[in-house]
């Protein structure tokens, strides 16, 4: 059991937890903003894959992880354009469009990847590190936490910034009202279309970032169907967090823990079948859904297209 407590082991464990939690967190924050504005995006799985793929390609081409992350965000926005135009603007069925985005995202990234990268598997190289002076010298935790990539810190700041914005700014208030009662926003002189459009684009950018984080930092490569249901877990996390981004962050960490436990056990000598490791997050999620079923409340206007006058 001494292995379990060794400093190196804990360092790796914490780093794994973070690496697994971050993509989910980013995607769930994106989904939260979308849902708060009244748009449920079932396409998030596909958006993440597109983000993961574009991020991967851009990083390979430019050699910069930072530009790669940007590429992922842009890819996510592009993938979400279908939701923007067909649902927010034309008021068509969110479920059908969401599923279409997921299917197309899965299909196209798989086709493109196998077409371009199977013959010569590409490697991304060393990710940028950002050692925070002083803090990163703290034993065990310091290494795991404060020697993360700068991208990690930017993503954390971004998330905290959005949490603040959603709670304390006029933009946040408008966004939340678009999901609660769009007619109120309209009557107050705000624009439901503009508010929802911004939320959907932001949501796409964040899901794309989540995907790119996954392919660039967590797994350090792309493969077809890389997300394997992570987008749907993000939707569940969003449902359970009821629009509170800090709760999203904590639940994502719990997910990271659940995923990191498998490999950790393996280090200690328990062999856990890979299938169980893959299933575990879903089992945890369904248990959470059963336990917290009563409290998984969604905004009242979620899924309802808004037409002025028809209300």
């Amino acid at each position: 059991m001494s292995d379990m407590l060794s400093a190196a082991f804990v360092t790796v464990f914490i780093a794994t937890v973070i690496a697994q939690a971050m993509p989910l967190m980013l995607a769930a924050v994106g989904e939260t903003i979308g849902e708060q504005a009244g748009v449920l995006n079932l396409g998030i799985e596909g958006v993440m894959l597109v983000g993961a793929y574009t991020g991967f390609v851009v990083t390979l081409t430019t050699g910069s992880f930072w530009i790669g992350m940007l590429g992922g965000a842009i890819g996510g926005v592009a993938a979400n354009l279908a939701m923007l135009i067909l649902n927010v603007w034309l008021g068509l069925n969110q479920i059908v469009i969401g599923l279409a985005i997921t299917l197309i995202g899965e299909g196209i990234t798989s086709v493109l990847y196998l077409q371009n990268y199977t013959k010569s598997p590409a490697s991304l190289g060393q990710q940028p590190q950002l050692a925070l002076p002083g803090l990163s010298d703290i034993p065990v935790i310091g290494q795991a936490l404060f020697q993360q990539s700068g991208i990690f810190w930017v993503c954390i700041l971004l998330t905290l910034g959005l949490a603040f914005a959603l709670a304390r700014t006029n933009w946040g208030l408008s966004t939340r009202s678009a999901g609660q009662k769009p007619s109120s926003l309209d009557a107050a002189g705000g624009s439901v279309m503009r508010t929802r459009s911004m939320a959907v684009l932001l949501s796409g950018a964040l899901a794309g970032l989540g995907g790119a984080y996954l392919s660039l930092l967590t797994t350090a490569t792309f493969s077809p169907f890389l997300t394997n249901g992570l987008g749907f877990i993000a939707i569940v996390i969003t449902m359970l967090s009821r629009g509170r981004i800090l709760v999203v962050m904590i639940t994502s960490l719990v997910y990271g823990l659940a995923v990191a436990v498998g490999p950790a056990l393996q280090v200690v000598g328990f062999t856990v079948p890979a299938d169980i490791i893959k299933m575990l997050p879903f089992i945890i999620v369904i248990v959470m859904l059963i336990v917290f079923a009563r409290s998984s409340v969604v905004p009242p206007a979620l899924g309802a297209p808004y037409t002025r006058g028809a209300r």
Binding site: L40, L42, G46, A82, L86, N87, L90, G91, L92, N93, Q94, I95, V96, I97, L99, A100, I101, T102, L103, I104, G105, E106, G107, I108, S110, V111, L112, L114, Q115, P224, N228, G229, F232, I233, I235, V236, M239, P273, D275, I276, K278, M279, F282, I283, V285, I286, L289, I290, A293, R294, S296, V298, A301, L302, G303, A304, P305, G309, A310, R311
Partner: protein, 370 residues
């Protein structure tokens, strides 16, 4: 529900169903061009490998599971229950056939074993749907999410079974024991199409009759149109949710078991044909009518049968089919939008579905102020 009939209306409805497919094929061709593949090779390959020679028989064999999955989806969708856990439900049914099948065939007559396999598969699927159904009925938890999550769990369970208790000790790859040809479903005389095809067609006709002509079908439609109305009419919505979910999930699992006993004869770990993803847009196009789904399923069966080889030939891989399916979904909503504006044909069933997720509860006075 109500008498249709007039020929022009039928024609318009047909247009609205076929146009999305054509547009999707067109745009997917453009995408192929854009990524440097050869659309003409692809479509020629689909024709060649999907229809010519005896390939049409393979396509018809594929129709059997696809059509039963379609009926399963229709049953749930008509009640406005979005059972999207079809991949897991299908695999569960399949693994019952591939795992339990060989054990049963060893000890009892083929016919009896086959029936037991079917029953166990259906029950497994039905039981697996209980969690999403109960959460939906009790707390209104979004069934899309719960059924999807249960599907991912099912995939894991199936893999564990295939690598564990159901593993064929004779091979090193994780797969189940191959079922002997004599224990598989018989062919339709003179063809190489197993009788699952006939079964699927019969099921479609029966389902069509039940859904459109009986009080049960009307109850499903009321429930689908408005759960609030259903409650008002005295329908027990808890039972309705559980029953429809169980029927839907059971049928999809049944499709899995038929596919193993009719076609594949064994199952490998990590195998997932994802039929449901492909069938889902088709049932929308068929406007949730089982019989109307037959031609659409036939179309996709050819596309899928021919598409596997054709996509390789065209410089793609088989996942490109997902793109085509996704495009059909997108164009379906667009066609619907345009059709709605110009009142072409009739719409894809209940108004609640046409708009979006939860039907907002509205008061009459909140309509257009006049």
């Amino acid at each position: 529900m109500k008498p249709t009939g007039s020929a022009p209306r039928l024609a318009q409805g047909l247009v609205r169903s076929v146009v999305p497919v054509l547009l999707a094929l067109l745009v997917s061709g453009l995408i192929m061009l854009a990524i440097g593949a050869h659309p003409l090779d692809f479509f020629a390959g689909v024709w060649k490998y999907g229809i010519t020679g005896s390939n049409w028989q393979r396509s018809l064999s594929l129709m059997s599971p696809l059509l039963i999955v379609a009926i399963g989806l229709i049953v749930a969708f008509r009640g406005q229950l979005w059972n999207l856990g079809y991949n897991g439900q299908y695999l569960l049914g399949a693994v019952v056939a591939s795992g339990l099948g060989p054990m049963l065939f060893a000890v009892m007559p083929t016919a009896l074993a086959t029936i037991i396999v079917f029953i166990v598969a259906i029950l497994t699927g039905a039981v697996w749907s209980l969690i999403p159904a109960l959460l939906k009925a009790r707390y209104g938890t979004n069934e899309i999410i719960t059924s999807l999550v249960m599907s991912f769990i099912a995939v894991g369970v199936v893999n564990l079974l295939i690598k564990g208790v159901f593993k064929d000790p004779g091979t090193s790859t994780p797969q189940t024991t191959v079922i002997a040809d004599t224990d598989l479903l018989p062919y339709i005389p003179g063809t190489e199409i197993h009788i699952g095809f006939v079964l699927a067609i019969v099921l479609a006709v029966v389902a069509q009759y039940v859904l459109s002509r009986t009080s049960f079908g009307l109850r499903v439609d009321i429930f689908g149109a408005s759960p609030k109305a259903a409650r008002h009419m005295g329908l027990n919505s808890t039972w309705m949710v559980i029953l429809l979910f169980a029927l839907s999930s059971g049928l999809i699992a049944f499709a899995g078991s038929i596919d193993i006993l009719g076609q594949f004869s064994y199952q490998r770990a990590d195998w997932d044909p994802r039929y449901g993803d492909a069938v889902m847009p088709l049932v929308f196009l068929a406007r949730f009518r089982p019989v109307a789904a037959i031609p659409f399923v036939a179309f996709y069966a050819v596309l899928a049968t021919g598409g596997t080889l054709a996509s390789q030939q065209a410089g793609l891989n088989v996942d490109f089919l997902l793109v085509i399916v996704g495009l059909i979904l997108l164009f379906m909503t667009v066609t619907e939008y345009i059709g709605e504006r110009h009142r072409l044909g009739q719409s894809y069933l209940p108004p609640g579905l046409r708009r979006s997720l939860p039907i907002p509860v509205r008061n009459e006075s909140e309509r257009m102020p006049v």
